[in-house]
Subunit: 348 residues, 2 copies
């Protein structure tokens, strides 16, 4: 294979300065077209690739983005983050950036690890996911000067000083609720999580407002009747659906596909004519929902990832004059599946 080519060796064999080659790679428009073509041809022929370390040492940029990944507690909901991760890698790669992964057992460990990597120059910035109430990470990263963009709102302060991208969960559950209302349902339950999680409360609020708009009495929306609150999980979904049925529900909007899977087993068991009109809509449109034929609210994960990467890279390339923080709320879509189509035939 011979010696690995460097700027130096290329420059010698081409009879130009290292500088010119560097310009061809980083500032092509500044080099005469004929010189550029000659250099590019030689680069291709020699298989030359600039050293990432040398480039990074001089330019003070690694073109690497940090991301914490979490153990997937639940294979059903984990697939959302999985899709986001994929999209993030793809978008980064397209923009000549790479993604570096870290793990952490706490938010503090996450931010201190990101700060450490940023100090060594291993990463230029990072992406934050799974934002929650009382999330201290934005402040910690800001304090240590680590540029970042969040996937997820800052739940306590929407006008935070950093850029974030999120999915409008309330818009999603509103879509789901309105769909069930269109089918003729009135007593539509919401199977969600206990209050206190930003994401969960947001999803509940979409159902609440859609129901209120449709003129459903407030007392029916009260906790314990149609508003079921439980931990996430398939079994929990089954139990909550059973309670909702006793409260007279004929359909349910769920905060997750896990809950929806659980709820749907109840409906398949209770197959009387009376309950056949019941319908369930999940959230996240996971492969499991697809496999079981459940309707679900689909988050535009790829679009979110693309936006996150764009915002972060813009932030990184304008270090001296940081852009105004951007707050982006993307709208999900409702994916209807056989289960509902079947119901549709009965209901209409």
């Amino acid at each position: 294979m011979g010696e690995k080519p460097t700027l130096q060796s290329l420059a010698s064999s081409l009879g130009v300065s290292r500088q010119t080659i560097s310009n061809v790679l980083n500032n092509p428009q500044v080099v005469h077209a004929s010189t550029r073509d000659r250099v590019l041809a030689e680069i291709r022929a020699s298989g030359y690739r600039p050293s990432a370390a040398a480039r990074s040492l001089r330019s003070r940029r690694s073109e690497v983005i940090g991301l914490r990944i979490r153990p997937a507690v639940d294979g059903i909901n984990g697939s959302l983050m999985d899709a986001f991760l994929h999209a993030l890698v793809e978008c980064s790669q397209r923009r000549d950036h790479r993604l570096l992964l870290i793990t952490a057992t706490s938010d503090e460990q996450e931010t201190s690890e990101q700060a450490a990597l940023h100090t060594t120059g291993a990463i230029d910035g990072c992406v934050l996911t799974d934002t929650h109430l009382d999330d201290t990470r934005p402040a910690e990263l800001a304090a240590t000067g680590v540029p970042f963009v969040a996937f997820g709102r800052p739940w306590q302060d929407r006008d935070a000083g950093h850029s974030w991208v999120d999915i409008d969960g309330a818009a999603g559950t509103r879509l789901a609720t309105e769909h069930l209302l269109d089918l003729g349902h009135r007593r539509i339950a919401f199977l969600g999580w206990p209050t206190g999680s930003g994401v969960g409360d947001d999803r509940r609020s979409g159902w609440q407002r859609a129901m209120a708009d449709a003129g459903v009495a407030a007392e029916d929306l009260a906790t314990g009747l149609l508003d079921q609150r439980t931990d996430d999980g398939v079994v929990e979904g089954t139990q909550a659906m059973e309670r909702a049925l006793r409260a007279g529900a004929t359909a349910a909007v769920c905060a997750s596909d896990s809950l929806a899977v659980g709820a749907s087993t109840v409906l398949r068991r209770v197959s009387s004519a009376e309950t056949a009109r019941t319908a369930v809509v999940g959230f996240d449109d996971t492969p499991v929902a697809a496999a079981l034929g459940l309707s679900s609210v689909r988050q535009p994960v790829a679009a979110a990832a693309s936006r996150v990467v764009d915002l972060l890279i813009e932030r990184l390339t304008t270090a001296n004059d940081p852009p105004e923080p951007v707050h982006d709320l993307l709208t999900p879509e409702l994916v209807l599946r056989e289960f509902d189509r079947r119901l549709d035939q009965h209901a209409r």
Copy 2:
């Protein structure tokens, strides 16, 4: 925050040479204990972190490992790779290495991307996953000099010149089959994929051998009777199980949890006394299997990831004298769940 400390600034304020500080970090045993402690205290106080770029430029090592991630086609089976990814990041981090992700739309793109990153020095080596028959990646990586360890056997040549770690799928299906035999089943079907996938054929062979050892007639093991071959998926599992039932099967060992989920719905529907003795065992012990109470074969993913990282780092730190290739086959375990326990009570 002041200026970012460097080796130089630390050396000046401590009155030692840069070299000594470098030694404290990279070669502690060579520095006098009192000097070492004084330097370490100052490092901690100043928040000094060595520049990754400078270190990498000089040492020609980035301490970064490349990995291709794939879009999770199926949320059920995807969780295995998810768990492997997490374990890989954790093990790498523990050993002061980081994981860099790439995506690719083909094996060729994967290896050329890895080679490119290796040439720039962005990665020291990479991990290969999802090995398959006629996998050209090992040869391509070897040709371009990229050190790597595979998670997955080279199916065409077990004695390949590279190190690999894999899970003994045949041992797993043997465990599952023997468990069902112990419960009194004789006509145990195998729900697997069409021949030609290394992983699938391996899993089938464990069932085949266990059945043969138990004296089950070869004609019953033939395709179309107990040996069901189908694409992966929940619906496919249901259909295959229905065919197996018609062939007189009373139980099934499955090549995946997707197939097992599908198979189990058949068993829950066909709840006659005759079929109540039927049982299903899945593969991969995914969260879905856990949620639905399905028994499954669990792969020791964390152990595999740890072994992969160890082997790769050993390979990277002995570049001039590469170690002998290691081939490691780890044994999975059988996770029994309620569904089978219930059966147990009936069968005994």
